[in-house]
Symmetry: C2
Subunit: 614 residues, 2 copies
């Protein structure tokens, strides 16, 4: 069954799994809940990312929050309209990997895949840490335990995904609506107030920098982390209810409008209340406090934020295992990533994602703002690649008004490329180089794996019809212990399978008998009394080792060239009750491992169910 | 090979492993280092255990340290002479399990074994925590991390024992001598001083209790933890150099003298310097400070103590896996405990010991004195059982002067029984009941396992000569993927083994093809083009499950009663380089697990080495 997929490397990227029934598919609000959670949830850390950068220039720096946010919203608008076109052009799902694979070649599609993987991992780490920050802002006593809380939340999400709970978009609507309504309530109430209900932290440290171009670019680059996730709808068009394209486009526009409005509103509030970053209380928590006061409303917003961020982390678990399974089917990752376990979960993808996010969370000590510099770079690589791919798409299709469409996607490509360059310049020293290194390493890994699978295909003579099968004489060796029912069953099975059968046993002379001869004789006498017409070889081992003498014996037997096919049949008893299985010794497993490692023999394991009388 | 040992349950307890060469065996100083480490190291926590109890009665209570210690030393003397006789009577090793098994019956020997296991575990936990306490007394800044330090030390010891480093008694002599010399130096220097070099902690809290009989008994019971380990020499007589019995007896007497002198000396110092217990600084550290001052000498003593205690913990790792392997060979524990891994280590015994000690260390938060109440009870159960067994031994032997010997062991039995009753009364509420419960649970476990092995023996018809083996027709089913070299190899092997061979493959229709028929046809055409003269069954699975359709198919085939022996041959490729093996999919392992779980088929796994061109 090995390497079934090695025979036809081909691109099936973008085959989003389609559910069978139309009524299970997504409407616009459900689409927002299922696919736009992480984009919407990013308002919990995006504005803060801007403020953290600007705060080094003191309150004069913080005054630039609104202009920087406006630049980001312009970019958001361009992306929203660009992706509206991607949806129309790729109704089967238009992830960057699919678009690039079709129009820009394998190498570019691998770069897109690598940047997507990095962003899936960062989305988990950032969402979890921001969710925990929402919690510790409400309960400052938990701040010291934030790393443990992050690990706990990550563990819960991972367990849920390993267990394979089917996500229900309908269930997710509730927290999404609560969060969006809560954020707008914070904005509206805050804008109507003349004074903050609770005074937020003001910048205490004096400015350590003046407002320069580089500072503004860095603030812009950090703030772009709020745009992560706007591509998710375009990847999943087939999951929408008919008319799919229209509904998906409407969802994309709604997302753009909501996200833009929230970003502008929050930055207005930041300016009005002179909010400054604070390591133990998030900006959103400070704004909520300023608008609502420190009452039940404050706790509701913090709790809704935490739940939404946990769900946002969960969306990576929906996306990355599917992407890694596609990569595995195209021979760019080990085939185990395409193997679904019993629960129909791509377990390896889930575990790799969780492990990588765990490393990031512990490395950053649960601090969201330490992770943000890495974020967004990968996203913008994907954005740019997919917009450039779209331009190529329109050029090839040349449908009615293709120039206009190409121009729009071209504008998107230009803006996202500029944003990417800004990210590069602004964050390179802060850790941006690590993301580039990671993309390069991942692409090299994909290419190396792909090359190896091609070589394996050559080794298997794929594509040729192999010669006819050639049966050979078989010699079956059976390691036995005492003479009992299990031994009888094993010798019976061996006689059914082999042309020649030999039994072998190991005696430990220092074990029960003082002399080698006595132990050997006892075993041999029992065997002769049974006279099964099968020769028995008695091996002795002074070291109480079981595997060494048998492996040596098998090698000697295998070296006799007269026997073409060497088979080892390992008998094991199978007890009826699970707890009784603890009483079985593990000799079968130990022998199996050693024989597999040191010989070429075919290993057969016979499990003989034994009735244990009460 | 299963259940080789089930046929002859018998007592081989006490067969200590003998090394081959006489010069590798132990002299008296080496015997002290190899076998008496934990007894000698117990002076690091034994006197403290007395002081902790007496301190609740204030300085008047602490005044009773010397009398209580003297009572303990009297008991030590009785034990030393009793074990001198045990050595003479059981030159092949006279552990409580062996003595009780020979003279007091199976049930009593199991009680002895259970109490020994509990003490092995407690010795590890107490030694590790006391060793870490010696370290944190020297470096108080580490006190907050003591639990982590305990886990680290335990992990190191476990790793060393899993790796199977042969203990060298010669290496252990150095820390043992350093420790003994250091403790005597502390005692002598301290007794010669008129005033302490550094004033130790004095009792700050006022007395909360008066000095009553129960308090003194509790102090005595706690202090008896210093006597743990005096039985170890008697268990290991065969490891001594000739004349074995004489050397072992001399070692036992030397141990008794050294231990008694150290206990008395330390309690004199405690009285002289009015030392009171202190949670962050051990009594031994306070005494060292008082004798030497806070200089290099102090740090040397603390470091030597820590090293010796770590080695003392290590002695349990020498003893318990051997005991559990003996229990397993007598069918009282699962046979895996008698299975040595490649490195000649009883891995299961080591891991169970480490796991249990870890639970205790974390439960006690690394506090030695929280563990001491549990300690010593088990030891005294073992002491009493083995002395009673010795009385029976002399009664049966009736050699020259047997009455005197029986009287001496009888005195030992009486004293240890009294001490056991004291332990019972004094510590029952403090956690002593837990030890009794644990002994009862372990004995019930041993008995249950023994009963089950007896039933398995009945199921295997042990002791009867089974009927002759009966070969049957065999049907070999081969799950295949594409048609390639691996498939050819698998079908060739199947034809060598089976009377009838059938191939089976699973097609996922939603995977590459829109219709079921297309995928099925493609597979079938490739098969027919190869025409291997073996029928192919094509199964379809919409859920991308591989195992479900194959298991269902095997069950259906197995139900056709014409085929007597159903064999599944799973082909797997084996790639030459280890890193390439990461590229193999795990379908073989997944299929193996599922088929083993749901069917009775014999599973054969064929590994085909593939040449991967460069």
């Amino acid at each position: 069954m090995e390497s079934t997929n090695a025979q036809e490397p081909g691109s099936r990227a973008g085959d989003a799994p389609a559910s069978d029934h139309e009524r299970d598919r997504l409407t616009v609000p459900q689409g927002l809940a299922a696919l736009s959670l992480d984009a919407l949830a990013s308002v919990a850390y995006g504005p803060e990312a801007i403020v953290v950068v600007l705060a080094v220039a003191g309150s004069r720096g913080l005054g630039f929050t609104l202009p920087v946010t406006c630049a980001i919203v312009v970019l958001l608008a361009a992306l929203t309209f660009s992706y509206r076109q991607v949806i129309a052009a790729f109704p089967n799902g238009g992830g960057a990997y699919a678009v690039a694979g079709r129009h820009l070649g394998r190498r570019v599609s691998l770069v897109a895949a690598a940047s997507l993987i990095i962003d899936y991992v960062l989305n988990v780490a950032v969402s979890v840490s921001a969710g925990v920050a929402a919690l510790t802002s409400a309960f400052p006593g938990l701040y010291g335990d934030r790393v443990w809380l992050c690990v706990l939340v990550l563990g819960l999400i991972t367990a849920v995904n390993l267990y394979g709970v089917a996500e229900s978009a309908k269930v997710m609507i509730v927290p999404t609506v609560v969060f969006v309504v809560a954020v707008f309530a914070v904005i509206v109430v805050g804008l109507l107030r003349t004074h903050p209900a609770t005074a937020p932290t003001h910048p205490t440290a004096s400015a350590t920098s003046t407002v320069g171009v580089l500072l503004l670019l860095r603030a812009f680059a950090s703030g772009c982390s709020a745009l992560t996730g706007v591509e998710a709808i375009a990847n999943a068009v087939p999951t929408f209810r008919s008319p799919r394209v229209k509904r998906a486009q409407r969802t994309e526009l709604t997302l753009g409008a909501l996200l833009g409005a929230m970003l502008i509103g929050l930055s207005l509030l930041i300016g009005k209340f002179h909010v400054a970053p604070n390591s133990t209380k998030t900006v959103l928590a400070q704004l909520t406090d300023a608008s609502f006061g420190h009452n039940a409303g404050f706790y509701i917003v913090q709790f809704a934020t935490m739940v939404l961020l946990a769900l946002a982390a969960n969306t990576s678990f929906g996306g990355m295992p599917v992407l890694t399974s596609l990569l595995a089917r195209d021979n760019n990752l080990p085939h185990v990533f395409a193997l679904r376990a019993d629960r129909q979960v791509y377990r390896h993808g889930v575990l790799v994602l969780a492990g990588a996010a765990l490393v990031l969370l512990i490395g950053a000590q649960g601090d969201t703002q330490a992770l943000v510099p890495f974020f967004a770079i990968g996203v913008f690589i994907g954005f740019t690649i997919s917009q450039v791919g779209m331009v190529r798409h329109w050029q090839i299709e040349r449908g009615l008004g293709w120039q206009g469409r190409a121009a729009l996607n071209g504008l998107g490509a230009a803006l996202t490329a500029v944003a990417l360059v800004i990210e590069l310049v602004a964050k390179f020293g802060e850790g941006g180089w690590l993301v580039f290194l990671a993309v390069a390493v991942l692409v090299a890994l994909f290419e190396g794996i792909h090359r190896t699978y091609r070589r394996i295909g050559v080794g298997l003579h794929l594509g040729e019809v192999p010669g006819p099968p050639q049966p050979r004489r078989s010699l079956v060796v059976v390691p036995v212990g005492a003479v009992n029912l299990l031994t009888r069953e094993a010798i019976s099975a061996a006689l059914s399978l082999g042309d020649e059968v030999r039994a072998v046993t190991v005696v430990h002379p220092d074990d029960r008998d003082d002399q080698d001869a006595a132990g050997t004789d006892r075993v041999r006498n029992a065997w002769n009394a049974w006279h099964p017409d099968v020769p028995l070889t008695v091996l002795t081992s002074r070291t109480r080792s079981l595997t060494r003498p048998i492996v040596d014996h098998l090698r000697a037997v295998g070296a006799e060239d007269e026997h073409d096919r060497l088979v080892v049949l390992i008998p094991e008893m199978q007890l009826p009750r699970p707890w009784q299985r603890l009483l079985q010794n593990q000799r079968g497993a130990v022998l199996d491992r050693a024989i597999r490692r040191y010989t070429d023999a075919v290993i057969c394991r016979l499990r003989f169910r034994i009735d244990v009388p009460r």
